[in-house]
């Protein structure tokens, strides 16, 4: 195993263990908040993965909703209740949905990629709103899942979902770090720098971008699955472009250097959101906008660059 991979593995496992222990002590609201930030963070991690290749998806709500709806339908119609299985299924369905679009989207860069993904997510939104069998614009509820064949007691349901979210997020974070250091991950970074040169060196840039898109879709679907299991309710807004906008927000806030930063950023967003809802419910979007502007202006490479710079300074 490469040294980078084993460090990532060790750091990830220790982090997961700490979070699992800490989670039992957290009050209910903070536990739920952390579950949601882990779920949304996974979706943003997918965007960061795409960002490393130089493209930003403004339509990750598409796969988020696809994963969420798939899970809710599996649970309600087919009686699949295992939370772990459902999470993986959510990711798989989203990846399958993304698969036919991947070769098409892989040809686009910059604004066109962003706008096309946005359009795709809005197509799904349009379909969902008008599909009465899926509850139309109201959506529908999902019953509580089980875990590994066990029914989850009421008192523990919050913690079990929290633990599942932490484990899934941790596992995907470790895999993402390993992927970033792999050949294809590094080629992605090179494409961001100069695509034409990468092509002249003999790499297929479209294939790398297509693979990135499908992987990001899996993450989006898994995130959607976790989110709906925590919320217990799904609606077409999962696919709306403002939802996608929040995922992009988190990715920009995090920057594309650090995997950990994605989850920190996601947590910050959830925290800001719930406090704003409490103290200034009418201007929370404004607060979010100002916050985003400040980040873009003064921290253009995201909060991940903070400890990257710090580590570099220590090394020299």
């Amino acid at each position: 195993m490469k040294p980078a991979a084993s460090t990532a593995l060790a750091a990830g496992l220790i982090g997961m263990a700490l979070l699992l222990a800490l989670g039992a002590l957290l009050p209910k609201w903070l536990q739920f908040l952390s579950t949601m930030s882990a779920a949304n963070g996974i979706v943003s991690l997918g965007i960061v993965l795409l960002m490393r290749g130089g493209v930003v998806s403004f339509g990750q709500g598409l796969v988020f909703a696809a994963g969420g709806y798939a899970v809710a339908l599996l649970a309600n119609k087919l009686g699949v209740t295992d939370a772990l299985l459902l999470t993986l299924a959510g990711g798989a369905v989203a990846a399958l949905l993304a698969l036919p679009f991947a070769p098409l989207l892989a040809r686009y860069r910059g604004i066109f990629f962003s706008m096309l993904t946005l359009a795709l997510s809005m197509v799904l939104y349009g379909v969902l709103v008008k599909t009465d069998a899926l509850g139309g614009s109201d959506g529908f509820n999902m019953s509580r899942p089980t875990l590994l064949g066990m029914r989850i007691a009421d008192a523990w349901s919050g913690y079990v979902l929290y633990a599942l979210a932490v484990v899934i997020a941790g596992a995907l974070a470790i895999l993402a770090r390993i992927y970033f250091e792999s050949t294809r991950g590094l080629v992605s970074l090179a494409i961001r720098e100069n695509e034409l040169r990468v092509q002249y060196l003999g790499a297929s840039t479209t294939r790398v971008m297509a693979a990135n898109f499908v992987i990001a879709a899996f993450m989006g679907g898994a995130g959607g699955a976790l989110a709906i299991m925590a919320l217990g309710h799904i609606e077409p807004n999962f696919s709306y472009w403002t939802t996608s906008g929040e995922f992009v927000f988190v990715s920009i806030l995090a920057g594309h250097y650090s995997v950990l930063a994605v989850f920190v950023a996601s947590f910050v967003l959830e925290l800001v959101r719930s406090f704003s809802n409490l103290y200034f419910p009418n201007t929370w979007q404004m607060a979010l906008g100002i916050f985003l502007l400040i980040v873009i202006r003064f921290l253009p490479r995201g909060i991940g660059s903070l400890w990257l710079d710090w580590r570099r300074r220590k090394a020299t």
């Binding site: 040809r107 604004i111 066109f112 096309l116 946005l118 979007q285 979010l288 906008g289 502007l293």
Partner: protein, 298 residues
């Protein structure tokens, strides 16, 4: 036959409204290279200010036709106050950054303006339908259509021809074209690009606000206006090719007709017919209909 005429008339009036808004969007992109998500917020601001002005005019008991002047004044007010503030105060800090990052800057601006409009005008809807009935009804193929809709077509044509003429036949227009082509070279030739940027942004916002002001009498003005508009106008300019005026016109027509067709034949498809049209165009013309293929830089 009747349905066909209805689809055509509906499609074209929708397209005219869309063209006015999308023209502003494409102009701002052409000059400043910013795909402005907040364009929809300026549209909404235009609608709200128009609603306020029209009700003031009504309270002062001005002649009914003056409400049209109120609509126009509203658009000018938004462009004159908000646009320079935004361009000079905010966008200026981010010029030259990555295009996608600029989209996010305008997304932040969109979030801010969204709450700002709610703070100023509250969450209750406004109704100012007085100007809508000014033009009576017009019979076409045995059916009555509202005259105001045809006025919209006229305004859209006027805007399109006006902008084309302004860009190609006037001195300032040629300066703007030079900046569109290459800001760096225009600047070294002595063009004050900073002024061109402000001017172009104001003009783009004027068109957005005008679209909003002209729509205000047709709808109830309430929060959430901006969101739908911006996404649809994105589709229009992407179909037509970013920064192209003919493209915006053709894109608006395609989107308008696709939507009207869906509404009158299969209503559930209304929302996504637009994006399907866009996806189909992009599959065959990745840069949009009127965009020239850019040379790649090594």
């Amino acid at each position: 036959m009747n349905t066909l005429v209805t689809i055509l008339v509906d499609g074209i009036t929708y397209a005219s409204w869309l063209f006015i808004v999308a023209l502003g969007l494409t102009l701002v992109f052409g000059v400043l290279k910013i795909l402005n998500i907040a364009h929809g917020s300026f549209y909404a601001a235009g609608a709200y200010v128009a609603a306020t002005f029209v009700s003031w005019f009504a309270a002062w008991q001005f002649a009914p036709w003056l409400s049209l002047v109120a609509l126009l004044l509203a658009a000018v007010a938004v462009a004159a106050v908000l646009a320079p503030l935004t361009e000079r105060g905010l966008l200026r800090m981010f010029y030259g950054r990555d295009e996608v990052l600029l989209v996010l800057v305008t997304y932040a601006l969109f979030l801010i303006l969204e709450d700002a409009t709610k703070l100023v005008w509250g969450a209750n809807p406004y109704f100012v339908s007085a100007p809508y009935s000014l033009f009576g009804t017009v019979p076409v193929a045995g059916q009555a259509y509202v005259g105001y809709d045809f006025m919209l077509i006229g305004v859209a044509l006027f805007c399109g021809v006006g902008v084309w003429w302004g860009l190609n036949r006037t001195r300032i227009g040629k300066l703007v074209l030079a900046v569109i082509h290459s800001a760096e070279i225009a600047s070294s030739m002595g063009v004050d690009i900073s002024r061109v940027y402000t001017f172009a942004f104001m003009f783009g916002i004027l068109l957005a606000a005008l679209g909003g002001a002209l729509t205000a009498p047709m709808i109830s003005v309430q929060p959430g206006l901006s969101v739908g508009v911006v996404i649809v106008s994105f589709a229009v300019v992407i179909i037509g090719g970013l920064g192209s005026i003919q493209g915006a016109a053709l894109g608006a027509l395609i989107v308008g007709l696709a939507r009207a067709l869906a509404v009158h034949t299969w209503p559930p498809a209304e929302l996504f017919s637009i994006y399907v049209a866009m996806a189909v165009v992009l599959v065959f013309r990745p840069e949009g209909l009127f965009q020239q293929v850019q040379a790649r830089r090594i």
